[in-house]
């Protein structure tokens, strides 16, 4: 803000800069402290886990711990990570493509029932995933899909929130003139979408993908209901299963910590790398 600052104001200004800084730093400590604890603990030996200062290092054994994590139970954790990558990576990708097509069509074409479809989608955004998971389980158990990859993958490709964001992005980033020009040049509707519109919508689609990926990676209730075979677990659900055993087996207790570290790092990395995209997504949610 560029208002003229008087000398007296400037001194008061410095004071408030310090106060604001301290308050923000205290909260930053609160938000970062558990992550710091996790990173530090992931480098500790089993015996030091509960006996040394939780917020400081006692020897650096991350490599050993990772080897223990990936060696345990014939490398089941690597399999869980792959499952997570499959559910979240493929699920979010298909979900993004489907959402972007529907969102683009809803934004750029007028047809009867458009308003109704859009309110249906908005309503679906408000339905909590947990409320859906149980009915899905009832249907999937009738269809004998429970305890298969499909049980987690199929529901993940539906993202009403993705359609909502795609529609807004198609509206604001695909000029109607370009679509018309392409039509004049003889391009079909699907080709216009695939070669022109999708490229213009790319920042929005990155947001859709990122949020879809995180939502699927973090989903808990769906695997809890749908999966019984260990081989099908996603990583975070595997950690939950291990957490259940860890009271009996202290060795597993450390694996839970290292596994938590390993299954969180990729998400934090993705968020750091794609900052400008999720910011755009959050702005949409707030301002619209």
């Amino acid at each position: 803000m560029s208002t003229a600052v008087l000398p007296a104001d400037r001194i008061r200004g410095h004071f408030w800069v310090v106060v604001v800084g301290i308050v923000l730093a205290v909260f930053a400590a609160y938000f970062l402290m558990p992550l710091w604890w996790l990173s530090v603990t992931a480098t500790k030996l089993q015996g030091d886990f509960a006996t040394t200062n939780g917020f400081w290092f006692s020897g650096f054994h991350l490599m050993e711990n990772l080897r223990a994590l990936f060696g345990y139970d014939h490398g089941i954790f690597a399999r869980w990570l792959l499952n997570s990558a499959l559910y979240a990576g493929v699920g979010a990708l298909i979900g993004t493509v489907l959402s972007s097509m529907a969102g683009y069509y809803l934004a750029k074409f007028s047809f009867r029932g458009r308003r109704f479809l859009f309110s249906l989608i908005l309503g679906a955004v408000m339905v909590p995933a947990a409320v859906l998971a149980l009915p899905l389980f009832l249907v999937f158990s009738k269809a004998h899909l429970v305890d298969t990859y499909w049980a987690v993958l199929l529901p993940s490709i539906v993202s009403p929130f993705g359609v909502y964001i795609s529609r807004i992005f198609a509206d604001s980033s695909v000029p109607t003139e370009i679509i018309e020009a392409a039509r004049v040049d003889g391009a079909g509707e699907f080709r216009i979408f695939a070669t022109i519109a999708q490229r213009l919508m790319l920042p929005g689609l990155a947001t859709v993908y990122l949020f879809g990926f995180v939502a699927i990676w973090n989903n808990f209730f769906l695997p809890l209901l749908m999966l019984q075979s260990q081989d099908l677990y996603p990583a975070t659900f595997g950690l939950f299963a291990w957490k259940g055993q860890s009271q009996l087996d202290p060795h597993v207790q450390l694996l839970v910590v290292i596994g938590s570290f390993v299954s969180t790092a990729p998400l934090i990395g993705a968020f750091l790398a794609l900052q400008r995209y999720w910011r755009a997504g959050l702005t949409l949610g707030a301002v619209d």
Partner: protein, 332 residues
């Protein structure tokens, strides 16, 4: 009707004659100018129908199958009862039972205590977290903030942490046998009977307060700065501007985040499921979702369906009620 929203008639006609599937019309457009609308409209319409389906069905078919369908199915299931006929060696039959399952849900003390627990948490946590998020957003928006980029990122990071991991971390940090705070001399059992619910609430606050603050900050940033300049010239200080201008202007975003948080609290399951592996204070039916999971895994599908429909209704009623209250206050 396939029309881009702002297409003029001429452009639209051009488009149709090229893509409408009517080759003849494109070859000799000037000959039958008078009959063109009638001759072209039907095939063009049919094509546009197909194109519309091509764009919408890939989303809406899975949407119906995995979203709308299951909800309808659960609603149907919830009105049925299974009865055993013919004694011990008989079979079971499923028949229409009206509201029997709902009566069972609503008369179950376990159900009400689980609802009471999440409602208590919601009444305390939602306003607390809203206030915290608003405070953080206002501070981040202040011209006196330094390192704003770092703080925004630090507050948002927990959102990227899986709920299971967040609960595991806080569980370890609060469980006396592994807690660094306990070792450091803070001899409080955060997972004991009186503190376990606030501890669960803390995990939710930790996960979402920062991302709520970022949403509110985005809303604040979209307010035209001239408004603040004018107020400043009139002699208003930072606090006054925050209270009288900024907060009223971002009210929609505040309502939006509050409703999301309330839905989140009513649907709580991950955190208590993890805490249950650490402390005996969390029972198997601690929250409504845990109850629903228990009845589904005990093969009481119809009861579970009634439970989840009831929970959905409560959730919707609570969010709409909340919305109405806030709107009424805004109108005053």
């Amino acid at each position: 009707m396939i029309e881009t929203s702002s297409a003029t008639d001429a452009e639209d006609t051009l488009h149709r004659s090229r893509h409408g599937g009517e080759r003849t019309a494109a070859v000799r457009p000037s000959l039958d100018r008078s009959v063109r609308p009638a001759a072209e409209q039907r095939p063009g319409k049919r094509r546009s129908w197909l194109i519309g389906l091509g764009f919408l069905l890939p989303f809406f078919v899975p949407f119906l199958l995995f979203y709308v369908g299951p909800v309808v199915y659960a609603a149907i299931q919830s009105t049925q009862v299974t009865e055993r006929v013919g004694g011990i060696f008989g079979t079971t039959v499923t028949k229409f039972g009206g509201l029997t399952q709902y009566a069972a849900v609503l008369s179950s003390p376990d159900f009400w205590s689980s609802v009471g627990r999440v409602a208590l948490l919601g009444v305390i946590q939602v306003p607390l977290m809203g206030a915290l998020a608003l405070l953080l957003a206002l501070l981040l928006d202040s011209p006196r903030v330094r390192l704003g980029r770092f703080f925004r990122l630090a507050y948002f990071l927990p959102f990227a942490v899986p709920g299971v991991v967040a609960a595991i971390m806080w569980g370890s940090l609060l469980d006396p046998s592994t807690s660094p705070f306990y070792q450091a001399g803070l001899h409080v059992n955060f997972l004991g009977p009186s503190l376990v619910l606030p501890s669960i609430g803390n995990v939710a606050v930790w996960t979402y307060a920062g991302s709520n603050a970022i949403i509110l900050l985005a809303a604040l940033k979209s307010v035209p700065p001239q408004l603040f300049e004018a107020a400043r010239l009139d002699g208003a200080g930072d606090l006054r501007i925050a209270w009288s201008i900024k907060i009223p202007l971002v009210r929609p975003a505040i309502v939006f985040t509050a409703i999301l948080n309330m839905i989140g609290v009513l649907q709580l399951i991950t955190e208590p499921m993890i805490f249950r592996t650490i402390t005996s204070e969390v029972t198997s039916g601690y929250t409504p979702n845990m109850l629903a999971y228990n009845s589904a895994s005990a093969d009481q599908y119809q009861y579970a369906a009634a439970l989840s429909v009831t929970l959905a209704v409560i959730t919707f009623a609570a969010s709409f009620g909340f919305l109405k209250i806030l709107q009424r206050r805004a109108d005053r």
